[in-house]
Symmetry: C2
Subunit: 451 residues, 2 copies
């Protein structure tokens, strides 16, 4: 059935767009963050273009207490992703629905239920982007002064993941008899109670939501630190990642696939989808000009605050046209910080130059050009062992996505690199991921039944 390997595409929908100043773009939907109709329109467009999924980021709080920054960005104003995607599930038929949710600020039973419900509501199109969260600001909304240390939150994340998957396996696929005459709703022997007692969680189960058409939601991850990679190699089915160079991307791709194999998985069981921030123009000049206009909308207070936040170091006291100072230790997200410090070092960039480098794609690859030149770059990454697909981070919305769909998608199709019709009805089918066999059917895992 599947002939040629094809590119997977996610539409990463970030409020008014990924560029920090996107909300100021003349054509941007300024109230996008809380405007469900805006998202509904985008999801329908992405589905019409046969994207694999829409993807939503999340944070469990307002990450900055810098009021100057807050007043000038749209970032603190957004709908919660799982509810939003449940709404979008009702209005779409085929496109996958991936929501970010934190293992640090949720309980596994609640999260397992919500994603299982989204999966059923959507007919098997849900994905969970597992994150550990990185800010104290979020921790302070959950009875903590500071966030868990990096190693501990990854340890918690690993156990959280295992509990969630165990709960999703509460009922076998054929547990449902619904035999009205006999009065038997379930074949109760197909019920598996979890009885989990671990370091971070005690969760008895079973889940009170049934199994989904795709077995269970797709697990997505984005961590790129050593701990993040190891968790991803063991558990992730899709990886969303930020790279600046082909060499970095190839090394990451190879590393993750090797880790997957080490955990007894097949390399095809994990799809690697770097983030791409595309600015599409009819000519290179037009694309450059579009990007330049967005960059001009960045207010210095916003740029400095954004950079400070991302590297976990307050840069407000330093000259904006001077270099990045020496940074101390941080408990924040490791990979993003290393990437930025690397950027600064490689290019000897000033604080201003550096924040302008991340105002768009936050460290992800920026691709500014014509449909052909953008397709060339995606094509290259896809063929040279850097990527199985891409998460498209439109600079502003809705226009940025429209332009990608109108220009780049047809160009990819001309090369046979992107589908013209969905392969299946579930996210797993479209991503080319296997539908998991229930462990009770494989005998691989012992699930204890209640007395």
């Amino acid at each position: 059935m599947s002939q040629r390997r094809q590119i997977k595409l996610g539409a990463f929908l970030m409020q008014t767009g990924h560029h920090i100043a996107a909300w100021r773009h003349p054509d941007a939907q300024a109230d996008a963050g809380t405007n469900f109709r805006h998202y509904a329109e985008l999801a329908r467009k992405a589905e019409a273009a046969k994207f694999d999924a829409v993807f939503f980021a999340d944070s469990a709080g307002v990450r900055s207490d810098d009021r100057t920054f807050l007043a000038r960005t749209a970032r603190a104003d957004h709908l919660e992703p799982i509810t939003t995607l449940a709404g979008l599930a009702a209005l779409t038929e085929r496109i996958g629905l991936i929501a970010t949710a934190s293992t640090s600020f949720n309980e596994p039973y609640n999260l397992a239920r919500k994603f299982a419900s989204l999966d059923l509501i959507s007919g098997g199109r849900a994905g969970w982007n597992l994150v550990t969260s990185s800010t104290d600001a979020e921790a302070r909304n959950f009875n903590q002064e500071r966030h868990l240390a990096h190693a501990e939150r990854y340890e918690r994340a690993g156990e959280f993941h295992d509990v969630v998957l165990g709960l999703w396996d509460s009922w076998e696929d054929d547990a449902y008899l619904r035999d009205k005459q006999a009065g038997l709703y379930y074949d109760i022997d197909k019920l598996h109670v979890l009885y989990h007692h671990g370091k971070h969680f005690s969760v008895q189960g079973p889940l009170n939501v049934g199994r989904s058409p795709q077995g269970r939601p797709v697990v997505v991850q984005a961590g790129a630190s050593e701990a993040g990679r190891e968790l991803a190699g063991r558990t992730a089915e899709v990886i969303f990642v930020a790279h600046q160079t082909v060499a970095e991307a190839q090394a990451f791709y190879t590393d993750i696939k090797e880790r997957a194999i080490r955990h007894g998985r097949h390399p095809e069981d994990v799809k690697i989808m770097p983030g791409i921030f595309p600015v599409v123009g009819a000519s290179q000049d037009e694309a450059d000009e579009k990007f330049g206009r967005l960059q001009e909308l960045v207010q210095p207070q916003v740029g400095v605050a954004l950079l400070s936040n991302m590297i976990g170091h307050d840069l407000r006291g330093y000259p904006v046209d001077g270099p990045l100072p020496e940074l101390g230790e941080t408990n924040g997200g490791r990979s993003r910080r290393e990437l930025l410090v690397g950027l600064a070092g490689r290019g000897e960039l000033s604080i201003r130059e550096l924040y302008l480098r991340i105002c768009g794609a936050r460290g992800h690859q920026q691709v500014v050009g014509t449909p052909k030149s953008i397709a060339d770059q995606l094509h290259e990454w896809f063929e040279n062992g850097s990527a199985d697909g891409f998460n498209i981070m439109s600079p502003w919305l809705p226009g940025g996505l429209d332009e990608f769909i109108a220009g780049v998608v047809p160009e990819l199709r001309r090369r046979g690199l992107f589908r013209t019709e969905y392969e299946g009805r579930t996210l797993r089918e479209n991503l080319g991921l296997k539908i998991p066999v229930h462990p009770a059917a494989t005998g691989r895992r012992r699930l204890v039944a209640a007395a």
Copy 2:
């Protein structure tokens, strides 16, 4: 604008229907619990009939470990309500969307976000039915061996409620400038950070979701114990309650309105909506026969287990045609238990007779009759100070709701007791509840701004 006081109606959508054996009804949608299309159809019907809201119960676990019972009921198989209602929000325009969620097994920041998001997705139609949950089975999914004691969980619930409302007041209604030219998204002086430090929670805030068209979601409650009534008198805007007699209903109604006044509220600020389980027939005989057919579908193992669960005492060893034994102390839901013990005492009912009394409405009022006789009873309760409206608990679905809409709703309209068109677009407008003024505008509460 409002002339005559009218009945408020909720459609309490319980999977295959409220009767415990509903899933065995020939016309019931047997897989209803996880069938989103089923709920979409019901919500559209209820909206076409101008119901105030659809209402979903919830539990954070499978409440029974009695496998004989579990195998024979549909109760453990259901979608999570907030995700379900977010999906329904996308398919409806006017009807309110009330989801149950527990203060014992959630964190206030997460819950505040999800309901605020549902409220925005629906254009101001969300309601939160605040419950404290009552079973150890649920607690065991959340790192606990036993559930919190009754008094402590109500104490936690009160603080939880206050934190959630504080978070919903993070942004004033006019905080949103979205001035692209000036580069100001917010009027940052309209941001209010909560800085809550209490016995059960420390939550800094602010919420990362904006304010909704109805100010904030409607708060619904169902507790009828002393602690539950006191919390409701202070905080509830709608009360869902179970009564067997007019005298009980009147006493409760008067008590709650008095408590509301004592807390500085207006009696109209809280709407009391008892649950009603209607079985509609063209004649009384037909209605009795319909009900009888449902009762015949109850399997004794199911009835005994249901009753055991509800009163927190295992009755499996007792003769099913004998009396209820003496019951010890319980940490479960108080009000439901008292109601059942009262029922047993009043009627000298056997265990079988008692479970048959609760297999339909679980202690709520059963009304079996013609559209006219049912309307007579609702009319009486509404006029004699027992109720402001009713939460309709259809015996089976979809048919039971269809029959109520086809028969009873027109009868209520003929008497001028029920609307022919929605009064407004938000749940508050339709329920006749005031849209709350932000505390910063009233000066009643001091909200501290971050430095």
